[in-house]
Amino acid sequence: MPDPDLTEEPLQFGEGGRIFGILTLPSIPPRITQELPAFVFLSAGVLHRVGPARLHVRLARELARLGFSSLRVDLAGTGDSPPRPGLTNQESVAADCKGIMDVLDSRLGKLPLVLAGLCSGADNAIRLAPREPRVIGMILLDPYCYPDDGFGVREAVNKYTNPVKYAARLKRAFNALKSSHEEKKNGDKSVDYLAIRDLPTREQLREAFVSIQERKGRALSVFTQYARPYYNQAGQLDRVLDVEGYRQCCTELFWPQVEHTFPLELHRRRLVEEIMTWAAGYIRPRTSPGGLAPPQPATVTET
């Protein structure tokens, strides 16, 4: 069932073809696509290029229907790209980035780029954006954010005034009484993703947004309930970064009811719609002068 709106091609590139990715190209004339940025989906954590519940595949194909090309890639050590022994995570990602830029240059020309990533994918996008002048956009799903001045107070208020939290605590205590010693011992096997992330420093985080702002680019940040230990109010990233013009170029969304990897289809659909609306901001109306569309008014919201 080939899709008439797009074509997809597996690519092996980088030194000795060690990086694997899928290039998605829209089936519309190149004179239109040449004006638009290409999207790069960086693999998230240990998940491979398709993204959680196929999110990257879906986004790549929806973007192609709008005219955008994209590459979803397995960074070294994930999916079908072997690890780079002896390199730190950041050195390895930097080497992968060079391979990604080279292959995109050879296939699409020197297009502006939008980096997209969830969790560690967002961390990598943040570190790569300032170094690569062609990056004019970022889609960050649960990026890290440092606490602002009001974080602790908000956290305390939320902790002691939220009746749902009391109910959950009671339920946990009740369940703990019910469960056997063995079950308790094997209890919480969930992975603490935050503890294993190679988080960007405060300076790196700011540098990424400054570089996007200076390039007249745009950024979309979405925080889910996973981010609650470090992010608890829409607009916190804006306050922490204190980047002039942030609100003109950055959209910051807080979705505290949504899980980190968007396991529900209804949440994935909402995210895809949000990203498509955001991406459509790059498409210049027919009547406006050449180049990319100017930044759209951004939003900072909690829903």
Binding site: M1, D3, E8, P52, A53, D80, V164, Q257, E259
Partner: protein
């Protein structure tokens, strides 16, 4: 040549790394290995809601044909994982060119598998206590976080243990990760490689079940 028929949905994500590792080990042993994604899953074309079980059965046939054409091998063995085991047996189990089918934690049947997905969905909903009534109603229609078409559901329900019993017993070999796991056909050779796969847990965390991979390698390299 070995064709790997992967599991579905979150199980596909969880086993991606393990199945790649297995493919590398088998290749190092001198075997050709083909991994693929069914239509509407992974990197393959289509959306889940557009495809049916019959498409996936056809995909397995296509993968076997492609693998044979590319490798020049005449004899093929299949590895089916979870629902992939059911699909592999239903699609190609009775074909003469299939030498062996190794099944890793095969699901009992389509109905049981759908029940499993409903259980996973219930756990996801339990974690999502703040959904509005409308959202909850909508989410109740999902199976393990996915919308499945009526046609797909109907076809799952019609896939039962006959898929396994249609395969000559001597071709089948089951690798279970729990002693308690049952297989609907009696008299089939079976190994137990203890590992806590927790298939009914709603997660996409990667697993690297070394004892299972060792057992599967042994089964698939046995001449």
């Amino acid at each position: 040549m070995t064709v790997i028929c992967p599991p579905l949905f979150s199980e596909y994500m969880r086993t991606q790394h393990a199945l790649r590792e297995l493919a590398i080990v088998l290749a190092a042993e001198g075997q050709h290995v083909l991994r693929f994604d069914y239509r509407g899953t992974g990197d393959s074309s289509g959306d889940l809601e557009e495809v049916a079980i019959s498409d996936w059965l056809e995909d397995i046939q296509l993968a076997i044909r492609e693998g044979r054409d590319v490798s020049g091998c005449t004899m093929v063995q299949l590895l089916g994982v979870r629902a992939g085991a059911l699909l592999a047996c239903r699609s190609a189990g009775a074909c003469a060119e299939i030498e062996k089918l190794v099944l890793w934690d095969p699901v009992q049947g389509g109905t049981e598998y759908i029940e499993n997905l409903r259980h996973v969905q219930a756990e996801i909903l339990e974690r999502n206590r703040y959904l509005s009534r409308a959202e909850r109603r909508e989410a109740m229609l999902e199976y393990g976080g996915h919308h499945l078409s009526e046609r797909m559901l109907k076809e799952f329900h019609s896939l039962d243990a006959r898929a396994y019993s249609s395969v000559p017993k001597q071709k089948l070999h089951v690798v279970s990760t729990s002693q308690a796991a049952a297989f609907p056909v009696e008299g089939v050779s079976r190994d137990v490689a203890q590992f806590s796969c927790e298939w009914e847990t709603p997660t996409e965390d990667q697993m690297l079940p070394q004892p299972v991979l060792e057992r599967l390698t042994a089964c698939l390299t046995l001449t």
